[in-house]
Symmetry: C2
DNA sequence: AGCCTCCTTGGAACCGATCCCAAGTATACC
DNA sequence: GGTATACTTGGGATCGGTTCCAAGGAGGCT
């Protein structure tokens, strides 16, 4: 592997000058620049990222942290879409993404230290943090720039999120407008903000329309299909005519539970989900759900993070927050109550 | 951030000595060692990975490349499991994983150069390469250590794989033993070796049992649910009594196509899949399929790669290949022909 | 013609570690 | 007591870049 020194020798200039050419520094004579560029081509030189990082203290690597609590859910297509969005944005900007799934085999403090303190990452992206897993406070402590996907209540945290409250309200109002009055909900784990927000939106819609929500009509699930099935089994005893389910995976389980009990969707019970996973449209019946732009959200998160990394040099550090809108996808799983 | 120098000053020794303590070099007086360790604790020193990498020429980072051709399939839970296996193995060994999904936004040669030539990765893992995407030849060219998940025909390539031929044969023989004679298959994209191998296993089982396989009973799919649906639609015209489908995602589509045509699984047509995705057991009907240990395979791939990285120092370079067995998961989607 | 500027360029320090080599010290042996 | 040996330790070069600073040279102005 040729180094700067080699190029310099071939072009008959100093390392400094070659470095300037590589980095598009303006103060290089055009003739010299061409000569250096020829030399670079000739010997197939490529800048050594590690050496460069040591000097500049920037690696152009972003760490993506998925906390252990949700890594069980990792097979949900939600994460694949998120990763695709994030990597795509990184590709465009010439950044690399280190993926760090916290798993049971190593304790999370060690994992955190490894990724944050070893100097390999300029900044961190984190998704689906639980309020009680301590990740965000630790990140704040270290002072490393980071952006969360999904809002976090701490005022110092920059995040990107979708309008979960608005989306949930929209979904619930859709059910209400269809004529439903006895509407249940299956929530996500309530230590996660998206789950909280979707519940909030649901309650707001119900409240605004003067509909009571007895506690028994609210069942906490865990964002998995199995969880949806179990939650729906309990909810069935309350005989709701419609259910707002906080994620599509949960909704898939809920539909199975309903059908398993010999009831039909939507004729006996209407079901509305949240996420609009790719499979939602091809379920039987096709799932009415709230679309959230997962890939776009992850892309945006990367862009916001990179923006922060650049500004940091200029000492601009104001918290940034972006919330994207959701969209109701009306399909077959909801109808008027009989 | 404190550096080696700072620790050295506090402990009253030289950088060299601190370095020896950090790296567990034996020739350090126990008393000195303790003194240095106290100094390290006291100032919260952590080795700077970048600087260390520059000196040692090893980063403890592995690059995982998913070629563009399959990044469309990326929402298949298969990839999530693979990533989880790979990251978990990395966590255990103290390695980091850079995830590189080749996407349309950047051409694949550029992507390849970025990840391979910038010095950030010690080695590369690659999954589901197509025979015609040129990735493997390029990797061979650069001389970087790499391991593919899924076999590659080139004799110089180290890989881990599951016994696709054996699994496919086992599945097909299961159908044959049930009494089926007119058995169709939906294959994956035949420019991918797993798809080829599963077809080979199918044909071998059929041939060994003296059953003819007219061309019309072989339909190429693309490993997606929609592809499975389309392929099955064509296959239905041939009236097979059973179908061996080369992946669970394809099988899900196939089942839907069968049900959509007013036929029942397994009463009218038996369906057997391949992969044993987490959802296979909870489908309606539960899918009989060939289990492959995806997470374990990815873990193994990481281990083999790390092993190669270590041996490389010792100039051991023999190609390594491992093939794991598969297992038949008998569920409800297959029965005797009527 | 002389002086001042601006543009280019090279030199050297630096980023934070590793590691070889030589020197110093303690122990053992004769 | 002197010398050989083993064990510790420090110094300095090195990895491959970036960047500050100073110097040289060309061009412009009076």
């Amino acid at each position: 592997m040729p180094t700067l020194q080699d190029v310099a020798r071939i072009a008959g200039v100093s390392r400094s000058t070659v470095s300037r050419v590589i980095n598009d520094h303006p103060s290089v004579d055009p003739r010299t620049r061409r000569r250096v560029q020829r030399a670079i081509k000739q010997c197939g030189y490529r800048p050594h990222a590690i050496a460069r990082s040591l000097a500049t203290k920037r690696t152009r690597i972003i760490g993506m942290i998925i906390p252990e609590a949700v890594s069980r859910l990792f097979t949900d297509p939600y994460f694949a879409l998120m990763l695709r969005g994030a990597t795509d944005a990184c590709n465009r900007s010439g950044y690399q993404l280190i993926l760090s799934l916290f798993t049971a085999s190593v304790d999370s403090k060690t994992m955190h230290d490894r990724i944050v303190h070893n100097g390999y990452v300029d900044g961190v992206l984190t998704a689906n943090t639980c309020l009680d897993d301590g990740l965000v406070p630790r990140l704040l402590d270290t002072g490393i720039p980071f952006v969360t996907i999904g809002r976090h209540p701490d005022a110092r945290v920059s995040y990107v999120d979708v309008d979960n409250i608005g989306g949930a309200r929209m979904a619930t109002e859709f059910l209400i407008h269809l004529g439903h009055k006895r509407i249940g909900t299956i929530t996500g784990p309530l230590n996660m903000t998206p789950a909280q927000d979707r519940l909030t939106g649901f309650l707001k819609a119900m409240g605004d329309n003067g509909l009571p929500v007895p506690d028994a009509l609210i069942v906490e699930g865990d964002f998995t299909e199995a969880g949806g099935r179990a939650a729906m089994a309990r909810l069935l005893e309350e005989r709701p005519t419609a259910v707002f389910v906080a994620s599509d995976s949960l909704a898939i389980g809920a539909v199975k539970a309903i059908q398993g009990a010999g009831l039909r969707v939507p004729e006996d019970i209407s079901v509305i989900g949240f996420d609009d996973l790719p499979s939602a449209a091809s379920l039987e019946p096709a799932l009415t759900t709230v679309h959230q732009p997962i890939e776009g959200l992850a892309q945006l998160a990367v862009e916001v993070l990179i923006d922060r990394l650049k500004r940091r040099v200029q000492n601009g550090i104001a918290v940034q927050r972006v919330v994207l809108p959701t969209e109701l996808m009306v399909r077959r799983s909801c109808t008027r109550p009989s």
